[in-house]
């Protein structure tokens, strides 16, 4: 939970996590996600890379496209869901 709390301190990461918690079926590019969360593309991209490293997002990568999706790990999804419920 501490790690999640830390992630939520970054505004882009926070918006991304809120977005995927609400839309777990979504797969989109950094540009697309930045549009949905209403945040700067470069900062969104940076946060996306970080969240991939943390195994919270999955990067579906091809030569021409990099798309991001929410993890299928039940435990991580539950933890984030719980954290969001607490802060609301």
């Amino acid at each position: 939970m501490k790690k999640i709390k830390k992630l939520f301190k970054n505004e882009a990461a926070k918006r991304i996590l809120l977005f995927f918690n609400e839309n777990p079926n979504c797969i989109d590019t950094a540009k697309g996600i930045s549009l949905w969360i209403g945040y700067d593309v470069a900062l969104t991209q940076k946060a996306l890379n970080h969240l991939v490293k943390e195994n919270i997002l999955i990067n579906h990568r091809t030569i021409s496209t990099s798309a991001y999706a929410y993890t299928n790990n039940k435990a991580i999804v539950k933890k984030i869901e719980k954290y969001i419920k607490n802060i609301r």
């Binding site: 777990p24 079926n25 979504c26 697309g32 496209t65 798309a67 299928n72 999804v77």
Partner: protein
């Protein structure tokens, strides 16, 4: 007015009373009406629970006593604490939703001021309605827009590969992602259309080996998968969803099972999977067409190679082992798939450039004269004209054209140096020299041993050959499969 209408109006009023538009209205009225308070009442003059309580005034009751339920105009009156109150109706269309009551006024406001407040309240109400409509639109459109964007992204991800195995695996992984399921299987019908062959089976819990029973073929008409393949009708249950892959006919099925959060699959998800299946079919068909095209291209190249071989065996083409070495180096160097395919084409016709070189020069055992070398350079480019009209060979042409270039720039036909020589040509140069050294040719003396050939190639690293290619060649040539086929000790 029935109960549901009443409830709907009350809900509307509660939302309105809490809206940012109403908050601005309250602030403004507080200023212009000498710090009066403002309360929202329902159509029956009851204070909303969300509104502040002003205990000493029973305004609702007072107004109710006045039987003003259908009052559509403003009303000013004195309340029990001897101050003035002003009520304005909240009207939507032709019905009254409630009232706004200003209390603690010192005097009755001027009629012009009341009209202005009334107008401002209408504007506030309209603004709130607009907010509500936008909110509704946002709630209905946004999830669909996100789903649409997801499908578009999936289309991009699927159309970026033409390799069938990679594509099927990718479809399965994306299905797991979009359906939030733990299991996905993709099955394609065999040629007779009687059986479904599993092409990808993914379970998030564990890796499934190809020997697992889930990789068993299923007869069409049997089990959920078989029935969907037979009827073309989708299947939806609590724990599974299965859709057919339909082009003109049914070509297979996608099935997803068990959601990660243990919830039930719903119609929206069925719709999403059906759309994903449509994208998948297009990608599968493209990959199948590409494979067919590739097969035809290989067929044409092999026919041409056989034709050249009939003229002079082993002059224009090389052994299968040569092709294997070339491809092994390329794969070890992690060249893109497209480059490897072109290199494969080139490796099947490496010496087409010799086609119009006189045979006495080709078979000469000693060193070449300057004149003979000039003939080779000229004829090499001339000969390539016989394949330049084959469109699919165009990307392979530079590899065939430049594989006689040397890394130090002293080769032919153009004397290109280092990285200016295409990577495929640099790879073929190493394999070509290796094969020439270890094979016996009628015009050549005795063949060189494998170990000696490797040493010779290593010796020319950086001068004749690209050092990175040579290092890779030395790595792959020591692999057991080459040790065996070359049947020679490799140190």
């Amino acid at each position: 007015m029935n109960a549901s209408d009443k409830k709907e109006k009350k809900d509307f009023l509660i939302r309105f009373s809490k809206s940012p538009a109403m908050s601005s209205f309250r602030k403004l009225c507080h200023e212009i009406l000498a710090k009066s308070r403002c309360i929202v009442l329902d159509a029956e003059f009851n204070r909303l629970k969300s509104e502040k309580r002003y205990g000493h005034l029973s305004l609702g009751k007072y107004l109710a006593r006045q039987k003003l339920s259908a009052l559509k105009e403003y009303m000013a009156f004195k309340c029990s604490c001897d101050k003035v109150c002003l009520s304005l109706p909240i009207i939507q269309g032709s019905s009254i939703y409630g009232y706004i009551l200003f209390i603690h006024l010192k005097n009755e406001p001027d009629i012009k001021l009341i009209n202005a407040i009334s107008l401002f309240m209408d504007m506030t109400l309209k603004e709130f309605q607009k907010e509500q409509e936008l909110g509704k639109l946002y709630d209905t459109i946004r999830p669909r827009a996100i789903a649409l964007s997801t499908i578009h992204t999936i289309h991009r991800l699927l159309s970026s590969t033409l390799d069938m195995d990679e594509l099927i695996e990718r479809i399965a992984r994306l299905t797991l992602q979009v359906m939030r399921s733990r299991y996905c299987s993709i099955m394609l019908l065999n040629e007779s259309k009687k059986y479904l062959i599993p092409k990808a089976v993914i379970d998030l819990e564990k890796e499934i080996p190809k020997t697992d029973k889930r990789y068993n073929t299923i007869r069409v008409g049997v089990r959920v998968e078989g029935r969907v393949a037979k009827t073309g009708k989708v299947f939806l249950s609590r724990n599974g969803v299965c859709v057919p892959l339909v082009e003109e006919d049914i070509i297979g099925i996608i099935i997803a099972r068990n959601k990660t959060n243990k919830a039930a699959f719903d119609k929206f998800e069925l719709e999403i999977l059906s759309t994903l299946a449509e994208q998948a079919v297009i990608a599968i068909k493209n990959a199948q067409m590409y494979a067919e095209q590739e097969k035809m291209a290989y067929g044409s190249i092999k026919s041409l190679a056989a034709l050249l071989d009939a003229k002079s065996p082993n002059t224009y083409t090389h052994s299968e082992q040569f092709v294997t070495i070339v491809l092994a180096i390329a794969e070890e160097m992690k060249l893109p798939r497209e480059d490897i395919i072109n290199l494969h084409y080139a490796a099947l016709l490496p010496d087409t450039g010799k086609f119009s070189i006189p045979e006495e020069i080709l078979k000469k055992t000693g060193s070449l004269s300057r004149k003979e070398y000039e003939i080779i350079k000229k004829q090499h480019l001339e000969s390539l004209k016989i394949i330049e009209h084959m469109e699919f060979l165009k990307p392979a042409m530079p590899i065939i054209r430049y594989h006689h270039e040397r890394y130090d720039g002293t080769g032919y036909p153009e004397g290109l140096k280092a990285d200016r020589i295409p990577i495929g040509a640099r790879i073929m140069a190493v394999a070509d020299t290796f094969e020439a050294m270890i094979s016996r040719r009628p015009y050549k003396g005795r063949k060189t041993s494998v170990s000696q050939a490797i040493k010779e190639i290593e010796k020319n690293k950086g001068t004749q050959f690209d050092p990175e290619v040579v290092n890779t060649f030395i790595t792959i040539i020591k692999r057991p499969e080459f040790k065996k086929t070359l049947a020679m000790p490799i140190s």
